[in-house]
């Protein structure tokens, strides 16, 4: 018998992850574990004398377990075992000790940290990484990140070169290096050549944009969890919902996942015509041919049919939802915010939405509110006031969190200020500027977006037509309006083999960049295989962009991320109105 727990928020994908793993392995039935239960804040109703809890190492969850299962008081004797995954923390055990049940409750650790979501995507399934690290400043997961890298290193290394940017990346790199030194090296043929580590707070702009490539859209709308998505009745056009895995095994999905949504319909209808053609072939077949057709092709066709109708359903549902939400205008607003034009109009759009209490809660609105480019203090204050009026004063705490994570910044008045002046200017203007340490410096970085965008040419000139069918750069991911900052950095650093000539950029990004040669002997194909590790989560748009970059420049990218994220998840993890 086993129990699994969610940490603190009911939407975390832990349980489905566990179920997926459990279904895959035959071990659980062997041990007569017939069912998995969720750990909740209530006593376990069971006749069994031995309970096993599989949980995240969170103090709150540990508390649930002992509070809810006060068997001793009830005069009942049961054995408990808590297995922490991916790590056991001192603090959790200290909690057990404090309660006087250490020893009675035994603990263990399951160092599961890499879940392959696809051929080129590995997730650590640690959504809390973002909040813990970037909001609370707690480095509890740094070593876990280092271990994940170490595991990959010992399986596919040695790496030839490591690049990175961001404080957490640097620490994770250090932790990896220490673990390599602790262990012993074995000579092996390298399969991964280079590694790029990047902190989420280097680029908040990208994950906050509404996604328009297919996979990203599906995630924004239906929420992909652990590579699985549940399509409701409106997609399946039946009364049942359908749970499917979305990865490269799905042939139809594999072809459209990285496409801009405007191309998806055309592609799907072409595919449907082909399928019809293939079905039609059976007309005029003789018995023998028919037999061959049924045994060889029909099954494939049927499967393709099923997949096709599912994705068509999903696309239709996306269209419906998006037209309802004024999606066009929303995109327009985002794009003009990125370009830094028509700020007035954008703000009035926001105001309208806020006062209409539109959107599935805060995510959407806040998304824009955070205007990555920085707002003028006056606008910011007025938006904040309106936001609180519409969504409740509780969100004061949300704003405080946003500020701490460095997502929210007012722009100092007048952009022409020199760097130094602008810093001081911000200090005077922005009384809300919080901690002077990290939050402060990332705050300074935030309003650097405009300068960064000029330096790296992130926002293409808007007067040129952009043909989304024939993408010429990564900007197609956002309808040709914006090149993803994170992926642009990857591209530049790989091209230059380091950070040389990018001093200005790294200064704007607040430094913490590094490039280290670890093992120069790597040869052959491995040199083109690049592991990109996102600390704090990455979006499907970023994965799509890297796939595109890989095709263009002849790299093979493997993405490792602490979790898949998107604008809603990012904002939700910072909401302060929950106890």
């Amino acid at each position: 018998m086993a129990h699994s727990a969610r940490t603190d928020c009911p939407e975390l994908p832990d349980f489905s992850l566990l179920k997926r793993l459990a279904q895959r392995s035959a071990h659980l039935p062997q041990h007569e574990v017939d069912k998995l239960y969720k750990v909740e804040h209530k006593p376990v109703v069971s006749t069994s004398d031995q309970l096993c809890f599989l949980i995240r190492p969170r103090i709150q969850t540990v508390k649930w377990i002992y509070v809810a299962n006060a068997d001793k008081a009830a005069g009942r004797f049961r054995r408990y075992k808590i297995i922490f995954t991916p790590r056991k923390f001192y603090a959790c055990e200290a909690m057990l000790e404090e309660q006087g049940i250490f020893g009675e409750v035994t603990t263990d650790e399951w160092s599961f940290c890499l879940l392959p979501l696809d051929d080129d995507v590995i997730s650590m399934e640690l959504p809390e990484f973002f909040r813990d690290n970037f909001l609370a400043g707690d480095q509890r997961w740094v070593r876990t990140a280092g271990s994940a890298l170490h595991l990959l290193h010992s399986l596919y290394g040695p790496f030839s070169k490591l690049y990175g940017i961001g404080r957490c990346s640097k620490m994770a790199y250090e932790s990896w290096r220490e673990q390599v030194e602790e262990g012993e090296q074995t000579a092996r043929r390298a399969e991964i050549g280079k590694v790029f580590l990047i902190d989420r707070d280097v680029d908040f702009v990208t994950p906050l944009c509404s996604q328009v490539v297919y996979e990203g859209l599906v995630d924004d709308i239906f929420r992909i969890k652990c590579g699985c998505v549940e399509f409701g009745p409106d997609v399946t056009s039946s009364d049942k919902s359908l749970k499917v895995m979305l990865n490269s095994q799905d042939k139809v999905f594999n072809e459209i996942r990285n496409e801009h949504f405007s191309n998806v319909f055309g592609f799907l209808s072409q595919k449907a015509r082909n399928l019809q053609g293939a079905y039609d072939k059976r007309r005029g077949m003789d018995i023998k041919q028919m037999k061959a057709f049924v045994s060889e092709e029909l099954k494939g066709l049927k499967q393709e049919h099923r997949l096709l109708s599912m994705h068509i359903g999903a696309s239709e549902s996306i269209m419906k939802k998006k037209t309802k939400q004024d999606f066009q205008e929303l995109l327009k607003t985002e794009h003009s915010l990125l370009e830094g034009f028509e700020i007035r109009e954008s703000i009035s759009f926001l105001e309208e939405h806020i006062s209409r209490q539109v959107s599935r809660l805060s995510g959407r609105i806040n998304n824009r509110l955070l205007s990555p480019t920085g707002l003028l203090p006056k606008d910011y204050r007025s938006l904040k006031a309106q936001y609180l009026q519409s969504y409740g004063a509780d969100h004061l705490l949300t704003f405080s969190n946003l500020r701490q994570a460095g997502l929210l910044a007012e722009q100092p008045a007048g952009e022409a200020l020199s760097a130094m002046e602008s810093k001081v200017g911000k200090l005077v203007n922005d009384k809300t500027a919080g901690k002077l340490t990290d939050a402060f410096s990332s705050l300074a970085r935030k309003s650097n977006f405009r300068a960064l965008s000029r330096k790296l040419n992130l926002v293409p000139k808007s007067d040129e037509e952009y043909d989304l069918r024939v993408p010429r750069d990564m900007a197609y991911i956002f309808s040709g309006a914006y090149v993803l900052l994170s992926c642009k950095l990857v591209e530049q650093v790989l091209e230059r083999d380091g950070w040389t000539g990018m001093d200005e950029v790294t200064r704007l990004l607040n430094g913490h960049e590094f490039a280290v040669t670890a093992d120069a002997r790597t040869q052959g194909d491995a040199r083109r295989v690049v592991l990109v590790m996102f600390l704090g989560g990455c979006t499907f748009s970023e994965i799509s962009a890297l796939r595109f970059l890989g095709r263009e420049k002849g790299y093979k990218f493997i993405v490792v991320t602490t979790a898949i994220t998107n604008s809603s998840r990012l904002i939700e993890s910072l909401l302060g109105n929950q106890i």
């Binding site: 923390f89 001192y90 603090a91 055990e93 909690m95 650790e109 070593r143 932790s175 105001e351």
Partner: protein
């Protein structure tokens, strides 16, 4: 629900930990035998430990590991130089990352300095505990030696061992200097788990004043402590901590004195903290369910040192809840009384308590639209009290009245009189949006077309009119544009013999219009 199975017991017993289950056998001999089997099965699990049984381990200096001379010499070495690379051969960890996952640490031994005897006891107490593996290698060493062996690590080595999840004892770090050294090494190792562990130890062994004082210059550690206290819900200590970080004798209004250089930075940090204190206390309101108590709590919050801006928001929050309590009481009675028509026709779906401001405004526009300005629930009164912008008020009122299908009220919203007494329609919102809102509240075409007609841009007007089937407007606009072709095209789309079709016919036959095409 877990299924009760007779063979449940069998399952556990038949697992590989069967050796540990000896519920019925009590005599010493069988216990010993079981223990031996247990140890053997441990060896099986931790393969690296295998050779330790058979082959004597030799440290780098050539002495057998575990011998007294070995531990003395190693201890001496470690005392000599704490900051060099760990001089220890990998004794208990053996090699490779594999052993890491099998080893663990015991927090009791960590903090309580639990003896090995106790550990052995726990082996016997909880036989099904695989974590006994961890103690197993140490079982073989005499007690006294074990003690030396654990407690003589330098701060740096201790941190390293903790990172690897090995057993350590922190008890020996008694001087403040040692404790801080330990903390600094933990911070340098960037391992939040270890930092928190050290902080838990420091919190236990140092007075709050000393701990807080030292943490002030250690930001990373401070953040970890704050997070730990937040997670354990130790609000009291957390507030104490935050207060202690404020400058002594600091009052909230002397902010403007520090406006230069370093002092300015310090001020901002401190100001940030003050707000943190205030917000933290404010956050408490979320855990108060009773609305009256919550309101009183918020009232007390008003005096907290928020930033001027936030303080206004909290004030609003309090005023809002205060009103909601009043409105809720009156309306609940009105609803029960059954005399007020609007509550009968549109029963309230939920209580208005704790709803956001705009929801409250909507509610009042819905149920209390016509009230005089003196009452708390009058929309205009609310608008004034909370300084709601014209646009926001407009949108909300529009939606509420449209929902009730009170079209005359909707109309009145737009009407403004100029000084000559003429009325004209004005809106802070584009009429396109107005149409959108009305349409979402299922306004009939007659109502819609009044507003579609007010859209300035002809193109936009036509597309809106087509979308909402306001034929008259389409036709009139085309007429004004003198666009015969479009009119002809539109006629095709209309129902045969309808009034609109006839109207187009008339227009087309009207010789007075000079068509442009």
């Amino acid at each position: 629900m877990m299924k009760s199975k007779a063979d449940e017991e069998d399952y556990w017993n038949s697992s590989k930990f069967k050796a540990f289950t000896f519920d019925d056998e009590d005599d010493e001999f069988s216990r010993l035998k079981e223990s031996k089997r247990a140890v053997n099965s441990i060896r099986y699990l931790v393969e690296e430990d295998d050779d330790e049984e058979e082959v004597e381990k030799v440290s780098w200096s050539g002495e057998p590991v575990g011998s007294i001379s070995w531990s003395v010499s190693e201890t001496a070495a470690s005392n000599q130089k704490a900051d060099r690379e760990p001089a220890f051969p990998k004794v208990s960890a053996d090699s490779g990352p594999m052993s890491r996952s099998h080893s663990g640490y015991s927090l009791s031994s960590l903090f309580k300095g639990k003896t090995k005897g106790g550990n052995f006891q726990s082996l016997a107490d909880s036989p099904s505990d695989p974590s006994v593996r961890l103690y197993a290698p140490e079982l073989r060493k005499p007690k006294s030696e074990y003690k030396d062996y654990v407690s003589d690590w330098s701060p740096e080595e201790t941190v390293q061992r903790m990172q690897q999840g090995k057993v350590v004892s922190l008890e020996k770090f008694r001087s403040l200097q040692d404790k801080l050294l330990l903390l600094d090494y933990a911070v340098n190792a960037h391992d939040g788990n270890v930092i928190t562990a050290v902080l838990i130890y420091l919190k236990r062994t140092l007075s709050k004043e000393v701990l807080f004082r030292e943490l002030e210059s250690r930001q990373t550690a401070l953040r970890h402590l704050i997070h730990y206290l937040t997670e354990t819900r130790d609000q009291r200590l957390l507030l104490e901590l935050l207060r202690s970080l404020l400058p002594p004798g600091h009052t909230w209004c002397c902010v403007s004195f520090y406006l230069m250089g370093f002092i300015l930075l310090f001020l901002l940090r401190a100001l940030g903290r003050m707000e943190d204190v205030a917000l933290l206390q404010y956050k408490e309101h979320l855990s108060i369910a009773d609305e009256n108590r919550r309101r009183d709590f918020l009232k007390n919050c008003l005096s907290l040192p928020f930033s001027p801006e936030d303080s206004a928001h909290v004030q609003d929050h309090y005023t809002l809840l205060e009103r909601q309590v009043i409105i809720e009481t009156t309306d609940r009675q009105a609803e029960r009384g059954g005399k007020v028509e609007v509550f009968q026709k549109f029963p309230r779906k939920a209580s208005i308590l704790n709803m956001p401001m705009i929801t409250t405004l909507y509610y009042c526009c819905f149920y209390h639209y016509t009230e005089s300005e003196g009452t708390f629930s009058c929309p205009l009164n609310i608008r004034q009290t909370f300084k709601i912008s014209e646009k926001q008020y407009f949108v909300t009122a529009l939606a509420a009245r449209a929902k009730l299908k009170a079209w005359s009220d909707v109309d009145a919203l737009f009407t403004s009189r100029n000084w000559l007494g003429f009325t004209r329609k004005k809106s802070p919102l584009s009429f396109q949006r107005v149409v959108d809102i009305l349409q979402k509240n299922s306004a009939p075409t007659q109502v819609l077309q009044n507003y579609v007609a007010l859209v300035d841009d002809a193109e936009l007007r036509i597309s809106l009119a087509q979308k909402h089937k306001c034929h008259d407007i389409v036709i009139n606009t085309y007429r004004d544009l003198k666009d015969r072709q479009q009119l002809l095209g539109y006629q095709v789309k209309l129902k045969r013999g309808s009034a609109e079709e006839r109207k187009i016919d008339e227009l087309l036959n009207n010789p007075q219009i000079r068509w442009k095409n």
